[in-house]
């Protein structure tokens, strides 16, 4: 509960500081709309030539695009800004201030920066998802919705742990921003069903950069094509990655000497 309250505080501070730059809202809205428009137009072009893409119907891929935007929004909202700041503060030594605070430092670095306008992506994503669901109609039942919510949360944990693990590497190798950049460009591949890709890419997108679990799997859950094994596997992977990230974070902190010390 305390964690939620802390997140609330950080969120409020971000809102207050961002409200001074309200034009940014329209800039972000504009950019998100253009990005969404691009994605939808791309789908329209592809589906003008086919009515199934690797076994996925148009509205199912539409749902996937919705998930892609929701997760992308979550990453842009807290994960990416926080981890970027973490790497920066390990380099210049300002992590000292975070460590001096009487709360869990991992939590603090994870929520320290909130890019509130990225909420737009999340809202748009849910809008797209809702549209897709209405059009899919009869096939979405209670089980699908439930497993979707679970998979979305699982995906969020996976992606958070993955980013934290990468960012924690900065305790050993100071300049790691580049790895995070690679993630951003690879994430685009998650806009299409992972099953389209050839084996080696599917492997890389599942186990090396776990994007499959973040976009395709939740969309599969919603469209009722998720097997129990995948569901279980995703939950286990999330737990495993989270544990690894926690352990690495602890070991990494011991490595940290502080630039000012």
């Amino acid at each position: 509960m305390n964690y939620l309250r802390l997140f609330g505080v950080y969120f409020r501070v971000s809102v207050l500081s961002e409200l001074a730059y309200r034009v940014n809202f329209f800039v972000q809205l504009f950019q998100s709309l253009v990005e969404l428009g691009t994605a939808l137009l791309g789908l329209a072009v592809v589906f003008s030539y086919t009515n199934t893409l690797g076994g996925w119907r148009p509205d199912e891929v539409l749902a996937l695009v919705g998930v892609y935007f929701i997760v992308g929004g979550m990453i842009g909202l807290v994960i990416q800004p926080g981890m970027g700041k973490l790497i920066e503060s390990v380099r210049d030594g300002t992590l000292d201030f975070t460590l001096a605070k009487p709360e869990d430092a991992q939590l603090l670095v994870s929520i320290q920066r909130v890019e509130i306008w990225k909420l737009i992506d999340i809202v748009l994503g849910f809008g797209v998802l809702a549209t897709a669901l209405v059009r899919l109609g009869e096939t979405v039942g209670g089980w699908e919705v439930l497993s979707f919510v679970v998979m979305l949360l699982t995906g969020a944990v996976i992606i958070y742990s993955f980013w934290l693990i990468l960012a924690t590497l900065s305790f050993w190798f100071v300049r790691v921003e580049n790895i995070l950049e690679i993630f951003q460009s690879v994430y685009e591949a998650g806009r299409w069903p992972i099953s389209l890709y050839p084996g080696w890419m599917r492997f890389a997108l599942t186990f090396i950069i776990p994007i499959a679990f973040v976009t395709t799997v939740p969309a599969e859950a919603l469209t009722g094509r998720l097997s129990a094994e995948t569901l279980l596997g995703a939950v286990l992977l999330a737990a495993l990655l989270f544990a690894i990230s926690r352990v690495l974070w602890r070991i990494g902190l011991r490595q940290y000497s502080g630039a000012s010390a």
Partner: protein, 267 residues
């Protein structure tokens, strides 16, 4: 003229040194450049496979050829000047550039060409790897391969001039990201990066033929795939020359006005 040649040589050395230093950024740059065409290659191959082996006038193996060649053509004509310019103006480093006795576009051209020459071997290697994985069907006639040399040079020049000119919008507004994004979307659809332009409805093809984007990317690709007749190739070169002239005129006009605005802000 000799001074300019010396400048290009020097810029090449500088860029080479910094490229060797920042290998990681090179890798990132390559990943995004390979991944996008690769994703569309796979998407269209899937569509083609489902549709019985072809979509429109492209077979599965021709799609593979299209997107692999597109990756290489995009590598030739790509510029990152729009990001660079925004940074320069925002951070004020452009003031130093302006003090130099040559036009700043020269060092940008030299920088662009040299960093591409450095990455070219790796790009070709990736292309060969993709060719082994996707079995592209690529058999262009000899004349098309020869014609592709001037066409690629023209494509590079048109794209460089236009993007350099557009990058100068940073002189007027600090919100260039929005402008850049619009530009990239237009390029994405109307240059043939999402799909070969012949797969688009006729009105879109007409717009693409009038605007410059197709001539920077899609046209060289189609030429190298051997899909164009000599007359079409000549018409395309004509369009490239026209856009080069327009680009040059715009570049002159915008540059004069832009530098004035910049000095007014910086003073």
């Amino acid at each position: 003229m000799r001074g300019l040649a010396a400048l290009y040589v020097q810029q090449f050395k500088t860029t080479f040194a910094s490229m060797v230093q920042y290998r990681a950024s090179l890798v990132i740059w390559m990943i995004s450049h390979v991944l996008e065409p690769l994703v569309y290659l796979i998407v269209w191959s899937t569509v083609s496979y489902t549709g019985g082996g072809s979509v429109g006038d492209y077979t599965t193996r021709e799609f593979a050829a299209y997107f692999i060649v597109l990756m290489l053509v995009n590598h030739v004509s790509y510029t990152w000047i729009m990001y660079e310019f925004e940074y320069r103006v925002r951070e004020g480093t452009f003031s130093v550039t302006l003090l130099k006795p040559v036009h700043p576009i020269h060092s940008d051209i030299a920088d662009n060409i040299s960093s591409k020459l450095i990455t070219l071997p790796l790009m070709v290697l990736i292309a060969l790897g993709l060719a082994a994985a996707f079995h592209p069907l690529l058999a262009p006639p000899m004349w098309a391969v020869v014609a592709a040399i001037p066409v690629l040079i023209l494509a590079f020049m048109v794209r460089f001039l236009l993007e350099w000119t557009l990058a100068q919008s940073a002189f007027w507004t600090t919100r260039v990201t929005a402008i850049n994004q619009i530009y990239f979307v237009l390029v994405l659809f109307l240059s043939g990066q999402i799909a070969p332009l012949t797969l688009f409805p006729a009105p879109v093809q007409l717009v693409a033929a009038i605007l410059p984007f197709r001539w920077m990317i899609g046209f060289p690709v189609e030429l190298l795939l051997g899909r164009l007749s000599p007359v079409q190739a000549l018409t395309g070169i004509g369009a490239q020359v026209v856009w080069l002239a327009i680009g040059f005129a715009l570049f002159r006009i915008v540059w004069r006005a832009g530098v004035r605005v910049y000095s007014a802000v910086g003073a």
